[in-house]
């Protein structure tokens, strides 16, 4: 299975800490200074949409966003240039989203925003390759399992998200404990197989 669009979202620790308007200049600067990876294009402001995509940093291969859907969280969605291997794509998505979390947490104007890295949601936005079904979930969780355990530890819990066939298929990761530095270090080590 080779879905073309995959995202990962990491929820903030404290919803009330989010200052969406402050993100606009930050994301513009990220484009200018190439703070995060990828070919970055523009900032899209959806602050006016309740529980929407928030402020987005639109890129060519993927978009970053402080996404406000359900609960605020940093999201990276890979939308082009899939490697053809789900685990490889997922590693890239994780690398980018965790790096964006770290960068954002370092920003002075984000009032000490922090992320609950034990709680990650993966979504596959490709209804052709990955319809929301038990079979797809079984395939994806098998493909992603080794990487998830490598990054979050062997005792990580992996659950299926919404089972509504109309929703994109989602995998929810719940780690007993995790630390962003540690995750980043693990991600930095290239996969052995």
């Amino acid at each position: 299975m080779n879905p073309s669009r995959v995202s990962a979202k990491i929820f903030v620790d404290d919803d009330a800490s989010v200052n969406e308007a402050a993100l606009i200049p930050i994301f513009h600067r990220w484009i200018r200074e190439k703070v995060v990876d990828g070919m970055l294009i523009d900032v899209a402001d959806y602050i006016h949409v309740p529980h929407g995509p928030g402020v987005m940093l639109i890129g060519h291969e993927g978009d970053y966003a402080l996404d406000m859907a359900s609960r605020p969280g940093m999201k990276y969605m890979m939308k082009r240039d899939s490697s053809g291997d789900f685990a490889t794509d997922l590693r890239l998505v994780f690398t980018r989203v965790f790096s964006a979390c770290q960068r954002l947490a370092e920003e002075d104007n984000m009032q000490g925003i922090s992320f609950n890295v034990c709680n990650v949601r993966i979504k596959v936005h490709d209804r052709l390759a990955a319809p929301n079904s038990s079979e797809t979930y079984a395939i994806l969780s098998e493909l992603a399992g080794p990487l998830i355990r490598e990054i979050f530890g062997a005792d990580v819990k992996v659950l299926r998200g919404s089972e509504d066939p109309r929703d994109c298929i989602a995998i929810c990761i719940e780690a007993a404990s995790a630390d962003i530095e540690q995750i980043s270090n693990r991600l930095a080590v290239p996969a052995t197989s």
Partner: protein
């Protein structure tokens, strides 16, 4: 087993013609990538399929410090100075705004799978998806086609979405329901040869009455207002037909062409209006190419005479009246019984919401509920959940509106409290629909290549600013309309509002400062009956203060029931300008640098990001458009040949030859049919017998390829046969190009 693709998966669900057109577009994309299609032609081709350019697609962006190249990976282009890989906007036509629940679900999926998760409702009832990659567009179109939506002619120099009152069929004041007529005209015009060679776009609109705004017929190229007239003692349905309205830099109010066109004559007369526009409209100077300029040049009486003449000669078409047989079966009926709203406790905020967002239908016990969308945006999740709500309460009865909202029709009154709570759950129960807080804005600098100032930015700011004090605003202010456009092209319809704004820029010292030109006193009612007056430019950052000041002064100076519009007219331009003056100043950069950035954009303001707009489409000859279809058939023939489908390759190549011949014939004989026999006969008579097609060396050889293949009986097609048909087709297409070029050159010579 065939591959799992949308094309295979949906093959049985798409109308055959639509599926073929999408395949053809995909083939044209391949040809473009192979460098076999010119930029201009491909640009117009994709525009006519709804694939529009977006800001920065020329590969440059000002990042607040400097203009930098965006490092898109490839070097292909999808139009003049338009990078292939740059994200674009896809416009989806929603005729008269009507959507079924199934369609809403698919639209939501497309926003997830190809866009940024947002569905944007436009001021012409379309839906736009932004940040779409061109390579995703064929599948996007297929998924729409499978649920009966086409994006064909959503952009470009073509007949755009046909708009119509969202209250049609349930309105208390309409003459009759315009929906089936709008649908019939949409299907009739879609892909019609008479509407393929306009110099610019052509926007039709229907309204059920003359007094309200919903249809905005006064600002349309073709405006139709439903009317019932007594003809020979019988009440007869028909339309007042207006033409030549339009906003833009030079706004024109529409002129009455015919006071009453019967329903039988609606389609043929509309067709004749289009034929006159095609024939006489400006083609070279796009700034003068809208029908409004032709109407102004000829005068409405002459235009009428030309339409009447055309009506006598236009070939008969059974479709003109075929749809009328279906009218008695057209019904838009309620899902639930009409039950009155009971007394008793209601949820918090319910009364306020009912006051502004609920309209009583003429059918007793039913209401229309308006969903007030912020800046016309909804998430894919909201769309999906709204489709569920609609399925439960009203069935397939959701429509988009020109105020960038959605409406649910046929709501049983008794359901209002529970519906309110359901909508509140999905953040779609914001009160204030149609009031001063419900602000309309075009995409502006957010995504439009022509945007000068941030229309969405200012609209968003005004929305929050006014919502915060909505409860304290007097009724005379609450009902005002605010609309903003990012530039003079007026997509935000600012001319029709009480307070309208369009983006421009002023130089202050060495800096550019975003401004909005203030346009006051437009009329929303009577189908956008009168346009506002331009009063002067105010810095973008002072617009909220200006709105406060103007509305306060209006309340103080108002005489009796005077409307805002009447107050502006009474004051006159000179006095109004005095009211604006205190807001026209710009502090120096040192004093307040915030004036030098726009709303919602942290970068220092610049005009450097403006690109070449595609609103106008590319001026590409009819021949170029048609021959490109022939080329795509030839390309598909080669693909079939490579797949060892020789019979298929031969048939496709032959089709390519016939289409090329048709393209040439159409330069002389506009009404050429799609019948291959007729095309070949006409081609022979006009181009072969006259030797116009003759090549200096090959003489009539290439034409003979067409004749031979056309006359050939069914044979078992071998590999060699297919290969020679493909080769002959390519030579024939080349010869067709050459012939057209010779003829165009000799015409130009004569005209010198």
């Amino acid at each position: 087993m065939s591959a799992r693709t949308w094309k295979n998966l949906l093959a049985d669900q798409m109308p055959e013609g639509w599926a073929h057109e999408i395949d053809q577009f995909e083939a044209q994309m391949e040809l473009k990538k192979l460098g076999k299609l010119e930029d201009k032609i491909f640009a117009e081709t994709r525009l006519r399929r709804g694939a529009y350019g977006q800001r920065y697609d020329n590969g440059q962006r000002h990042d607040g410090v400097d203009t930098r190249q965006l490092a898109f990976p490839g070097d292909h282009t999808k139009g003049p100075e338009t990078v292939w890989d740059a994200p674009g906007m896809h416009r989806i036509k929603i005729p008269y705004g009507g959507m079924s629940n199934e369609q809403m679900n698919v639209l939501a999926d497309l926003a997830d799978d190809y866009s940024d998760g947002i569905l944007h409702i436009t001021t012409r009832q379309d839906i736009q998806l932004h940040f779409v990659h061109i390579e995703d567009t064929p599948d996007l179109m297929r998924r729409l086609a499978a649920v009966g939506i086409t994006t064909r002619e959503a952009c470009g120099n073509s007949v755009r979405n046909i708009t119509g009152c969202p209250l049609a069929g349930v309105c208390r004041d309409e003459a009759f329901d315009i929906s089936p007529y709008a649908k019939a005209l949409m299907h009739f015009f879609l892909g019609h040869p008479d509407v393929q060679d306009f110099g610019r776009k052509f926007k039709p609109a229907f309204s059920g009455c003359a007094q309200h705004a919903c249809g905005l017929t006064n600002m349309h190229d073709l405006g139709l207002i439903a009317k019932i007239k007594d003809v020979d003692g019988k009440p007869t349905r028909g339309f007042a037909m207006y033409i030549g309205g339009g906003l833009g830099a030079v706004p024109h109010e529409a002129k009455l062409l015919f006071d009453f066109v019967t329903e039988e004559e609606l389609l043929p007369v509309s067709q004749c209006v289009a034929r006159v526009y095609t024939r006489l409209g400006e083609k070279r100077n796009r700034n003068r190419a809208r029908i409004k300029f032709l109407v102004a040049k000829l005068g409405i009486d002459e235009y009428r005479r030309l339409v009447e003449e055309e009506r006598k000669v236009v070939p008969h078409d059974d479709r003109w009246t075929a749809y009328l047989k279906e009218l008695p079966h057209y019904e838009d009926s309620p899902l639930k019984d009409a039950v009155q709203l009971s007394a008793g406790a209601k949820p918090d905020g319910f009364e306020d919401w009912v006051r502004t967002n609920v309209y009583k239908q003429r059918q007793s016990g039913y209401v229309v509920v308006t969903i007030n969308l912020p800046l016309g945006d909804a998430t894919s999740d909201q769309f999906r959940k709204l489709a569920d709500v609609a399925a439960e309460y009203v069935g397939d009865s959701v429509r988009t509106t020109v105020e960038q909202n959605l409406v649910l029709r046929w709501v049983s009154e008794a359901d209002l409290p529970s519906l309110y709570l359901r909508l509140k759950d999905i953040h779609l129960a914001t009160p204030g629909a149609g009031t001063i807080v419900d602000i309309t804005a075009c995409p502006g600098t957010d995504t439009c290549k022509l945007g000068i100032a941030a229309s969405r930015g200012v609209a968003g700011e005004l929305r929050s600013h006014l919502t915060a004090k909505r409860d304290t605003l007097p009724d005379s202010v609450k009902g005002l309309k605010i609309k903003a456009s990012g530039c003079f092209n007026s997509c935000g319809q600012h001319h029709l509002s009480d307070l309208g704004f369009y983006g421009n820029s002023r130089k202050v010292g060495n800096y550019a400062v975003p401004h909005f030109q203030v346009v006051l006193g437009g009329q929303w009612e009577e189908n956008g009956g009168a346009y506002g007056m331009m009063m002067g430019a105010v810095p973008s950052k002072r617009i909220p203060e200006l709105v406060d000041s103007l509305t306060d002064t209006f309340v103080q100076q108002r005489e009796g029931d005077e409307s805002f519009r009447q107050w502006i007219a009474r004051l006159g331009k000179k006095e109004v300008r005095e009211l604006l003056k205190p807001f026209m100043t710009v502090p120096s950069y040192g004093e307040d640098p915030s004036f030098y950035t726009d709303w919602g954009d942290a970068r220092e303001f610049t005009l450097g990001d403006m690109g070449v707009g595609e609103c106008a489409g590319e001026v590409v000859s009819m021949f170029s458009m048609e021959i490109s279809k022939a080329e795509s058939e030839a390309f598909d023939a080669q693909v079939a040949f490579d797949d060892e489908d020789y019979a298929g390759a031969d048939a496709l190549a032959y089709k390519g030859m016939v289409l090329a011949a048709q393209a040439l014939v159409r330069t002389q004989f506009w009404d050429i049919s799609n019948d291959a026999d007729q095309i070949v006969d006409e081609f022979r008579k006009r181009f072969f017998d006259t030797e116009l097609f003759y090549d200096r060396y090959a003489k009539g050889k290439f034409a003979q390829y067409l004749f031979d293949r056309h006359e050939r009986d069914d044979v078992e097609v071998e590999r060699d046969t297919a290969r020679s048909t493909i080769e002959e087709t390519n030579l024939f297409i080349e010869a067709t190009h050459a012939c057209e070029a010779r003829l165009t050159a000799s015409t130009a010579e004569v005209l010198k």
